[in-house]
Symmetry: C2
Subunit: 455 residues, 2 copies
Amino acid sequence: MEKIPYKIYLNETEMPKAWYNVRADMKKKPAPLIHPGTHQPMTAADLAPVFCEELIAQELDNTTPYIEIPEEIREFYKMYRPSPLVRAYCLEEKLQTPAKIYYKFEGNNTSGSHKLNSSIAQAYYAKKQGLKGVTTVTGAGQWGTALSMACSYFGLDCKVYMVKVSYEQKPFRREVMRTYGASVTPSPSMETEIGRKILAAHPGTTGSLGCAISEAVEVATTNEGYRYVLGSVLNQVLLHQSVIGLEAKAALDKYGVKPDMIIGCAGGGSNLGGLIAPFMGEKLRGEADYRIIAVEPASCPSFTRGKYAYDFCDTGMVCPLAKMYTLGCDFIPAPNHAGGLRYHGMSPVLSELYDGGFMEAVSVPQTKVFEAAEQFARVEGILPAPESAHAIRVAIDEALKCKETGEEKTILFGLTGTGYFDLVAYEQFHNGTMEDYIPTDEDLKASLAKLPPVD
Amino acid sequence: MEKIPYKIYLNETEMPKAWYNVRADMKKKPAPLIHPGTHQPMTAADLAPVFCEELIAQELDNTTPYIEIPEEIREFYKMYRPSPLVRAYCLEEKLQTPAKIYYKFEGNNTSGSHKLNSSIAQAYYAKKQGLKGVTTVTGAGQWGTALSMACSYFGLDCKVYMVKVSYEQKPFRREVMRTYGASVTPSPSMETEIGRKILAAHPGTTGSLGCAISEAVEVATTNEGYRYVLGSVLNQVLLHQSVIGLEAKAALDKYGVKPDMIIGCAGGGSNLGGLIAPFMGEKLRGEADYRIIAVEPASCPSFTRGKYAYDFCDTGMVCPLAKMYTLGCDFIPAPNHAGGLRYHGMSPVLSELYDGGFMEAVSVPQTKVFEAAEQFARVEGILPAPESAHAIRVAIDEALKCKETGEEKTILFGLTGTGYFDLVAYEQFHNGTMEDYIPTDEDLKASLAKLPPVD
């Protein structure tokens, strides 16, 4: 048998031509979004003022297993995909583990993460619908960057509302977005009614994601030819991200490799849902079995300490309700450095799969995550994003267990992105000033007590 | 004929097993380094206190065409190489040019540039010689990062002297180096005799590369088991960087493509020398012809406005003299943002080739470079380093000439790295506050007047 190379790249002809919709293979479907006023399932008509038509169809489609990737998107994918599936020989050697470790690396594009896989799809459908532009929110900035790149490619206007504190703390992220022609507005702003209202009530506020969502939705719904788009949680996003798992599986299949476990970090679920999609499909259809592990920060543990219930997707409570593992939409995660994982809820698809026992979840404290990040960077030559390092932490832990037991397990994990914009966090880690923020039971009780009374 | 994919990746088995030493094919060899005191050519014995033995042998070897890449280095190369050779379909489409544009992208590793190709070789030979560690200097930080990564891999101590002003302005670069376990000292420091002397004479100075070199060399020569290493200019560095050109040529050969012109940015010459090596070899042997174009910043135009003469390699005048195109070692380039191109001199190999008429050179102003950078980022999805964007500028200009003439020329250029740490420059560009610094004839006359009296 041919030795497996350090990096497996698919040929262009081997790249996926359709996304895989795991909902089609779920016997128990994820619960529908419901209307915040009527508590009835949201219809396509309800969603039309906010979202693009084709994306609404994908959002509501629980039955079609494969949805063709339009030619234009596949062409764009070729610009930065296939992403490499890397055999972590150097990490294995360093750990002296009999485990075989693979990771799918999504950081080799300027957005620095997997987010581009969905932003390009969303921009494409917006363009196809004849829209002028889209609005969105960004916290850490990866989604905003990815959307800027996609809009630049299709000639769409892109309005990003960036939480004011991030806008000021992360000027570099802002400049990348500007390079791609996006307008980046610190939120709350004087541009919107809700922004002006908030600023009048709380002069000098540094903003929040909830407030930014309210502004972006207002702009999308009050301007002709605009819609609102977002980069995680939604079913459509997980659908687009299935390209990660499909490529990973195709690359492993080429070498006859079957992973024993699949590990990914989980914030809103976009990366994990995409990585595991085709493997989960096999598991749901009873064709194969895999351990599937979601890794979340101990500071924001929606799977491991949250409740499976209907909740608002945003702090501003303007969006539909989703049934998901949640810490309550009032929950304010402590300032850990994995901005992409600081979400109170979780993808409804993953929530249903977790509730159904098809996957596990584990939470890890921030300092342990950065220990793993540094160890990984030193041997694998990639500076991981803090989000991605959550998966690295658990992959290393599992590989060390194999060292104890002597088992030659095959581990696949998702390396979602790079940490070039997270060096303040690395600095804190090096200086020994990084803290682990773990919410108390009382904290969680308080925010969970405010869940809306819906079943 | 098979359609050429967006990205051509060699298989591991197709990766180069030997570096190519272009000096072997040069009829007129580059002039030797000479001793600053005796003005005699530097011997291996002269160089031994400062440099590693095997590297000295490579430095002085003007005759061996191929030098085997040791197995250990080839293994490390597999971690981040082969780098992709990209067909810039999206850029061609945007420019509406009949030209065919290819670029070799070296930015997909944490050092963010091609520098790792040589740092891993230098660290390997230091380790093989039984050294404890190495010292070096860094300005922009790419070389320092690359060396940190290499030293971490081989378990060598790595002491980086970083110009104080950069140390303070670029804390993120410093943190990446610390992630790899390097010690990073702002220069001038109190750790060295020369540092203490400079600080006593100029309290509060923000340092210079010349001063940092003096400190790094002092530490290397006064500590048992240390040597000094550097990332450009030297013959050995160009040798290691030939891996760029060898891979690029192998990838093009696979598809039967022959470039008409090869374009690279030139500061000290490490990237350009590496990229063009095998093509230049064919040209020197009369087997093929290529236009080869060095691109330098208008603010630091050593090829286009300098003199071909012996000069000091460092501002501190502690290093040997090299014959090269130089602006004079006193020349202080204006603060343009391509830190990697702000060097007063040029590789002696490239200088001899330029003097011999085997290549051209052109200089471009900074704002035009950033225009090209932004245009490229928007269609090719990579945020280029300012250094690399010099090559992009000229590649675009040449492609636009083809549009006028209708010629279907094939252009290959080197995309040396990413611009994640250069966003202050992008911000200036977006805000319209970026300036083009072009030295006056008087400026150049003054620094060239101080060339040492050696022929």
